[in-house]
Symmetry: C2
Subunit: 145 residues, 2 copies
DNA sequence: TAAATACGTCAGTATGTCTGACGTAAAAAC
DNA sequence: GTTTTTACGTCAGACATACTGACGTATTTA
């Protein structure tokens, strides 16, 4: 079982620990990359929703978010039904960056998934779904499905 | 595929992001916990070996390692065959802490693994093995198997 | 109108990590 | 047997990320 934890650690480093040139070019760090990724995954997610995903504090997110807003990577606007909430989505510029970042790490994932085979991938998902907290197994709270 | 990345992120947070009371009681942080874990997993690992696992710099590790040495959680001694290398292992006190930490997170893993079933676990390992860099798939360089 | 909610921000702090430079002991190369 | 390389330790300074706590604002709900 500990072997599984080892693997989880290394795989996570491999997927999320990369130091992309495209990121540094945009003067962004890994925290920005994660935010960007989950905004892309959950277009229209609210600030509270994103906080729940990233599990960081409002203050921590705000710094990152302001960088992304200042850089024009993310757009923020009031939710139509409740104007207290702010919905977040990628700008075209942000989407372009996200695509570039994703394309850079995609081959590794494709290869791993294909080499393992569909049954292994199904098992991979089942185990990780059991590990991740129940509320987070699907899309984020506050996102528009 | 991105769904798999989402899962990996949340599962990692769940497994490695915990803020154990036992850690704070020992005045240690998550970086110490990771070092402790991988020393426990690779008894006799060298400093360079541990660096390769954690993928941090020598200076970063040294601060963490010194805390662990000062606290009496880890023992360091020269390798018999090459006295330039230092082998790291847990002290009884360190092993005790590691066991306590592990026992705290174990139930979650046991449950996830059991609920998913052995085939799913096998798939989980296959996929993660494909994601993790090849050199790290087994035990660490510098460890005594 | 009053209270609660969702968010933004200011200020200060802790943690974890980095680069760069320098030093030491031991092994390997010559 | 001297020189070079290796493996590690350390000092100094910096940056990135995240935290706690307090306070302000707009908007919705009671």
């Amino acid at each position: 079982m500990k072997q599984g934890v080892d693997l989880l650690f290394h795989a996570f480093l491999d997927v999320f620990g990369q130091d992309e040139a495209a990121l540094r070019a945009a003067k962004l760090g890994r925290a920005h990359r994660r935010a960007l990724y989950f905004i892309a995954r959950n277009p229209g997610v609210t600030v509270a929703g994103l906080l729940a995903i990233l599990k960081i504090t409002k203050q921590s997110l705000n710094r990152v978010l302001n960088d992304l807003l200042d850089g024009g990577f993310v757009e923020r606007r009031a939710a139509p039904n409740d104007r207290r909430m702010r919905q977040l989505r990628l700008s075209p510029k942000g989407a372009q960056l996200e695509t570039a970042l994703w394309d850079a790490q995609r081959p590794k994932l494709v290869r791993a998934f294909r080499e393992a085979g569909p049954d292994a991938v199904a098992g991979f998902r089942r185990v990780l779904s059991g590990l991740a907290p129940a509320e987070k197994r699907n899309r984020a709270i506050g996102s528009i499905p």
